[in-house]
């Protein structure tokens, strides 16, 4: 009798446990079913507008910040931003992306007008009724609605002034620029050269292009320093130039006697600043650029007046500023 009762209770408990498991797995199946439906339909609400943001390089730290700034407005405005760009800096591919965006009839295009070859496409887009905003690099002669970004000429001047001040007006300078063709790099170099010429006797002995990559920047800087050993100051106009230049300086054992000024206060560059490998950085505001470009685009969509040019702030950051920020 006792045994029988034991058998009964064991069977009953096992039964309820297995029933429990059935219910558990059933609910699990239902849950994954719900997830499948969610993933399958992918029915996001159709945004009011959808804009294309075409940058210089897709996975570039600087451009990712621009893209992030733009993306962060998606929810606020109920819009979709397609952040696009070539894998490596390549104006031709960038133009293709612009053309594709035009043919895909997006509601608005925000593009970095790297050089004059972008003019016809920008004009074509505007002619087809797609408003275009230039970002980071302007194409003032095109029919673009407005420009948002750094005043690149002014940024170049700022760098030049800082260099004169820090080197007491006597130095031999080598420049590594992102690209000879790209308008913003041209403007930065131009601004730098102008201020140096106006205010000092500093001579610029070499200027090379890095295609905005660190490896080429390092290679060019090394060549430059080997060719002109008397260079004691370096100026880089694109984000990764600073890194490349310090690498070159280190490999030549000249880390300490070179004055290096670079662009963009990304984490990587800030580390170099902290370690005294770089002496100053020109700070741009990529996030604000991306963010405000969408604000402006929305203004255009709502037929509000926009100015011809919006400049974001630029400033010089040195190690002294860094400690202030850190504190």
């Amino acid at each position: 009798m006792k045994l029988q009762r034991l058998v009964y209770s064991v069977l009953t408990i096992t039964f309820f446990v297995s029933v429990g498991f059935s219910i558990y797995f059933f609910s699990q199946a239902r849950a994954s079913n719900a997830r499948i439906l969610e993933a399958d339909t992918n029915n996001l609400p159709i945004p009011r507008y959808h804009f294309a943001l075409i940058g210089e390089e897709l996975e570039h730290d600087y451009w990712e910040l621009v893209g992030q700034g733009a993306k962060d407005t998606e929810e606020e405005y109920e819009i979709a931003i397609e952040y696009e760009g070539p894998r490596r800096s390549n104006p031709e591919e960038q133009r293709k992306l612009l053309d594709m965006a035009i043919k895909s009839k997006v509601d608005g295009i925000i593009v970095q007008a790297v050089n004059n070859s972008f003019l016809p496409l920008i004009n074509k887009a505007v002619d087809q009724g797609i408003p275009v905003i230039t970002i980071d690099t302007d194409a003032a002669k095109s029919k673009r609605f407005t420009y948002i970004g750094t005043d690149n000429y002014e940024a170049g001047r700022l760098a030049g002034e800082e260099l004169i001040e820090q080197t007491n007006g006597s130095a031999t300078v080598g420049i590594v620029t992102g690209s000879f063709d790209n308008a913003h790099h041209q403007l930065r170099v131009q601004g730098f050269q102008d201020v140096i010429e106006q205010k000092s006797d500093i001579s610029i002995v070499a200027i090379e292009e890095s295609s905005i990559t660190q490896v080429i920047a390092e290679e060019k800087a090394q060549n430059m320093l080997t060719k002109y050993p008397d260079i004691n100051a370096l100026f880089g106009t694109s984000t990764h130039d600073a890194t490349g230049m310090t690498e070159a300086a280190e490999s030549l054992g000249r880390s300490n006697d070179l004055y290096i000024i670079g662009f963009d206060t990304l984490e990587e560059n800030l580390q170099l600043l902290k370690q005294n490998k770089v002496d100053a950085l020109i700070e741009q505001e990529p996030y604000a650029m991306g963010n405000r470009s969408i604000d402006l685009m929305m203004d255009i969509m709502e037929n509000k007046e926009v100015k011809d040019v919006y400049h974001t702030d630029t400033s010089v950051v040195t190690k002294a500023d860094l400690s202030v920020i850190n504190e």
Binding site: L11, T12, F25, Q28, A29, S32, D40
Partner: protein, 458 residues
């Protein structure tokens, strides 16, 4: 009543339904996966078809631009219409997303450009036509690229869905296993419960039957909580046991009455020895008294002798009410002689009632009873009345005395157990010896019905 058959039927149907449900879920599940797969595949095929058709249409445009003939135009138009059909198909099947919208726009841009090209060709504007033609070419390459991108995206999404589907499949498989296990356990539990229920009831019945077989009828009724055929069986068994016990009780009762009757006969037989001698002697004395001229004595002895003869006569011999009344008269004559004016006897008798049969020795003991317990102790004017009359279908015999009445205790004792009544009753010399209790029992044994006896005592 829940029949055992119904129980089994319900159980099997439940199991069957569960199994079918499981099978259905499994089937639906696999069907869904197939559907999902087909849907995706259709989309890939469509995308592939679109790129192919883009190329073909573009080629036909090229032929038409190079050689503007009606035939080539026709060929271009065919392809163009096919392309439009595919575009429409894509529009109706694709979900709404930014990517799909871009793709759609790209396709329509391509269509626009082809239209522009043919318009320019028709207008023989070679500059325009070559410009649009080149644009169409780049757009075609864009379509290629975008298609690849779309397929890539779809595949990525599909991969995720497939992994989720697999997860779901695994869950459903686990669920099926668990349900299957539950069903098996339930079956075992059901079988145990069911068979135990039956054997337990049968065991109870067997034990009870054994008890009864050994002669013990004092067992309790068997009770089962089930409501099936076994309930019917146990109820019938209980009823049977009750009937047997009842029959035994009746048999015992009958045996007791027979015993009583025999005792009474034996008693009267015992009494017969002396009475015969006494009777003859009394007759002799009566005759002697008559000869000697003692008339009163003669009559008295004659009455006594009649009474005696009636008393010792055969009990089974049929007698009538009339005989009983005569005996009562004889008895009263004797008593009146004994007590003189202290007692009087009055009777009202409807002569028509006297012919009904009547058990012997029933009336006289009752009158005697009334005499002894009612009026014997009264100093003067004791009276006993005997009324016999017909009331509707019933013959009423009333024996009424005006005595002191009886205490309830005594009534109870008289009507109660015959034995105790006999035991306590002293045979007094002035009684003919047949007690009230005996009369009651005697009548009961004859009419075979419980006799209700109400004695009204004032």
């Amino acid at each position: 009543m829940n029949k055992i058959r119904t129980k089994l039927l319900v159980y099997f149907v439940a199991i069957l339904v569960l199994m079918i449900a499981l099978f259905f879920i499994q089937h639906q599940n696999s069907q869904r996966i197939i559907d999902l797969h087909n849907q995706r595949l259709d989309k890939y095929f469509l995308l592939n078809e679109i790129t192919q058709q883009t190329d073909q249409t573009y080629q036909s445009l090229q032929i038409y631009v190079n050689e503007t003939t009606e035939e080539n135009h026709q060929y271009f138009q065919e392809n163009y219409q096919e392309f439009k059909r595919l575009q429409h198909k894509f529009d109706s099947t694709a979900t709404h997303s930014v990517d799909n919208q871009n793709y759609m726009n790209l396709l329509s841009s391509f269509i626009d450009l082809m239209n522009n090209t043919t318009d320019a060709v028709d207008a023989e504007n070679i500059d325009q036509s070559s410009h649009y033609y080149n644009e169409a070419g780049t757009t075609a390459s864009y379509i290629h690229e975008k298609t690849l991108e779309l397929i890539n995206n779809e595949l990525t999404a599909y991969e995720k869905i497939v992994s989720l589907e697999n997860q779901r499949m695994q869950n459903i498989r686990n669920m099926s296993t668990a349900v299957f296990l539950s069903v098996i356990l339930l079956s075992i539990l059901f079988a145990l419960w069911f068979s135990n229920g039956i054997t337990r009831t049968i065991n109870k019945l067997t034990n009870a039957a054994k008890e009864i077989a050994t002669g013990n009828y004092q067992i309790n009724d068997i009770f089962v909580s089930r409501k099936d055929e076994l309930r019917l069986l146990t109820d019938t068994f209980n009823q049977m046991k009750f009937n047997v016990v009842e029959a035994i009780r009746e048999m015992k009762e009958k045996a007791r009455l027979n015993q009583l009757l025999k005792e009474m006969e034996l008693q009267s037989l015992q009494n017969q020895m002396n009475p015969h001698f006494l009777f003859n002697t009394l007759n002799t004395i009566s005759k002697t008294a008559y000869i000697e001229g003692a008339e009163q004595t003669n009559e008295l002895i004659s009455s006594t002798s009649k009474l005696l003869r009636y008393n010792i006569g055969n009990l089974d011999k049929e007698t009538y009410l009339k005989d009983e009344v005569n005996v009562v008269n004889e008895y009263f004559f004797i008593q009146q002689t004994r007590f003189g004016d202290r007692v009087s006897f009055r009777q009202y008798i409807d002569q028509q009632c006297l012919s009904i049969p009547m058990p012997r020795l029933t009336l006289q003991p009752l009158v005697e009873n009334a005499f002894i317990h009612g009026i014997e102790n009264m100093a003067t004017s004791g009276e006993i009345r005997l009324n016999i009359y017909q009331k509707q279908q019933t013959i009423m015999i009333e024996i009424i005395d005006n005595g002191k009445g009886m205490s309830q205790e005594k009534v109870n004792r008289l009507l109660g157990d015959g034995q105790s009544a006999d035991g306590t009753q002293q045979k007094s010399g002035h009684s003919t010896g047949i007690g009230l209790r005996n009369v009651i029992d005697y009548i009961c044994s004859i009419v075979e019905a419980p006799l209700r006896l109400n004695q009204e005592s004032e």
